[in-house]
Symmetry: C2
Subunit: 103 residues, 2 copies
C-alpha cells in the first residue's frame, strides 16, 4: 500500500492490475472506456490503476453493471508497494489511449 | 512469498500473474502452450503460476525465444502471499485447458 496525500487529507491508495475477458465487442469497448478513465492501459485487456477505496468501489460498481457475469470475467489484483516494484516484462510498450480499440 | 517443500529440501516458490499480448495467432498459440505447462489459465491472455526461481528462469527464457519484442508483450506480476489472498473478480469461471485457443 502507498499513502498519497489529497486535498482533504490522507487517503490510502491501492495499486491494482485489472484484467478482463469480454467476448462481446460492444461490451468490451464500454469496459475499456470506463477503465481508461481510471488508469493506464498496459495490454489489450490489462489496465493498471492507482485508486482510493472510494474510486475502487465506484469502478467495481460501474463494471458490475456493464458485464454479463456468465460470459464475461474481470479480475482485480491488488499489488502492495513491494509487489508493485517487482513487475517484469518482455517486449511491449505502453499502449496509447488514442488508439481506437476494437480488437 | 510462500515456502513449499520439495524432494530436495525447501524451495522458495513465487506466485505470478502472467499476462500477454501476442497479435500473431501462431505465436500466441505457442506462448499459450508453454504457459499452460507452468500454471493455471485464468483468462484468454492471463495465467497464474506458482513457480520456483529455477522454473521462472526457464519459463522466461523459453518465452523470450518465442516472442517478437517489437510486436509482443508479456508482463509478469509477482504476488506475495498477502496480495495473493486479495484477488477479486466479477463474473468468470476458470477456463478449461482442453479448449483449443485461437481467439
Amino acid at each position: 500500500m502507498s499513502f498519497v496525500s489529497s486535498a482533504v487529507g490522507y487517503q490510502v491508495h491501492m495499486y491494482l492490475v485489472i484484467s478482463y475477458d469480454i467476448p462481446d465487442d460492444k461490451r468490451r469497448s464500454k469496459i475499456h472506456k470506463v477503465l481508461k478513465s481510471y488508469g493506464q492501459w498496459m495490454q489489450l485487456s490489462v489496465f493498471e490503476c492507482n485508486l482510493s477505496e472510494t474510486q475502487y468501489a465506484k469502478l467495481r460498481s460501474r463494471l458490475s453493471k456493464l458485464i454479463k457475469p456468465e460470459q464475461d470475467s474481470i479480475r482485480f489484483y491488488f499489488l502492495c508497494s513491494c509487489c508493485q516494484g517487482k513487475v517484469e516484462r518482455i517486449g511491449g510498450e505502453v499502449l496509447r489511449d488514442e488508439t481506437i480499440f476494437f480488437v
